[in-house]
Symmetry: none
Subunit: 209 residues, 2 copies
Amino acid sequence: MSTPQPLLILTPDDLLAERWRALSSSPIRATELSGLDTWRKAGHRLVVVDLGGYPPAAPPLWTQDAWQNNAADLAILATSSRPDDEEGLAALNAGACGYCHSHAPIDTLRQALEVIAGGELWVGRALLSRLLRLVDSRLPRAGLADWARPLTEREREVAHHAALGESNVAIADALGITERTVKAHLKAVFEKLQVADRLQLALRVHGVR
Amino acid sequence: MSTPQPLLILTPDDLLAERWRALSSSPIRATELSGLDTWRKAGHRLVVVDLGGYPPAAPPLWTQDAWQNNAADLAILATSSRPDDEEGLAALNAGACGYCHSHAPIDTLRQALEVIAGGELWVGRALLSRLLRLVDSRLPRAGLADWARPLTEREREVAHHAALGESNVAIADALGITERTVKAHLKAVFEKLQVADRLQLALRVHGVR
DNA sequence: ACGCGACCTGTCCTTGTGGACAATGGCGGC
DNA sequence: GCCGCCATTGTCCACAAGGACAGGTCGCGT
């Protein structure tokens, strides 16, 4: 099922444009940001744009006039080949309705377009979960109970300390046991959670893919 | 287009269940939270649940065992007839993959289910835009890529790799430089960001206090 | 031309980490 | 009583990480 609405593909990158052609039955291609003007005036809404397609030296697309003047009336899916939380937030705050990877699976892009065409917002899993964590300072433990599930009580404690960056000695000290014991617990934790080291453990515990 | 995957409808409210029946070709209905157990064990993933369907006096669904034990393996769309930011955040943090109004248009619900079935997260426009504004205003510059500001371009790259848990050799390999150089960059990063080691760096980069 | 900063590389060296062998005592289920 | 799981501690060892010296090139601005 392809997007029923007319779609504007906005990127100077020919390869990307070719790839995106599958997003709609008959997409229109533009390479200049000014294409947004004519698109809006033609009464259309749906746009997919590659933020990273222009020289890094240039000012971000969303700060330019053509964007500012039209974003409110359009449904813009902003994409980047090197996604970055900061960039995504900026684009969304500047009126974009979605943000994801330029080379995301074509089905994902299509889904994102359908979502923003329906008036909703689209934010990729990574950025969204990051946002949730940022806003919600309180319940870090409730939802993360899943990583702790296979662990014993003691292992949980050790893992928790280790995930905050404490050294083995510090953990041993805090729990009143030997460093050797901490190592033993951590070994078990690594095995049960299928991680290689304490850094991977920290990422898992704090919900980073 | 209805959801191809089997769907579990979880609510004690008969009217709501009837309404939701259109979400899938042959949905399964359950009224007790324990239905999550059997659903997961049957190898299914997709669930839509009404958070508000139970007595207000009862503890929130997401704090109960049946939820905690199964949320990680399921794709749960939580809904509420009286949506509330706090509730939504709590549910999402407890492992729900989406949050919206119980009586949202059936097409919207269907779209939300498709999205979470695809492994993404779904947050309605209202809550999401509030989130964005919150993040934008409350942490304007303590924001996301704040850590990267004092760093040079190369240091940023190295720091980014290191924060994902890659070893010095792996980073060197990825960037086409020597391990020694990676160490040099990391030393500069540690100094500039005032952190002791790569784990603290990872925590900083991923926004853990 | 000179200084400065970014980037890159080299050789020690100390310490932390994690794995590979162990062992001991307690406690609950069959 | 035996078996399995948990918690605890021991030694030895290979290796990664990070600090402390060192050095080099390149480009850019004064």
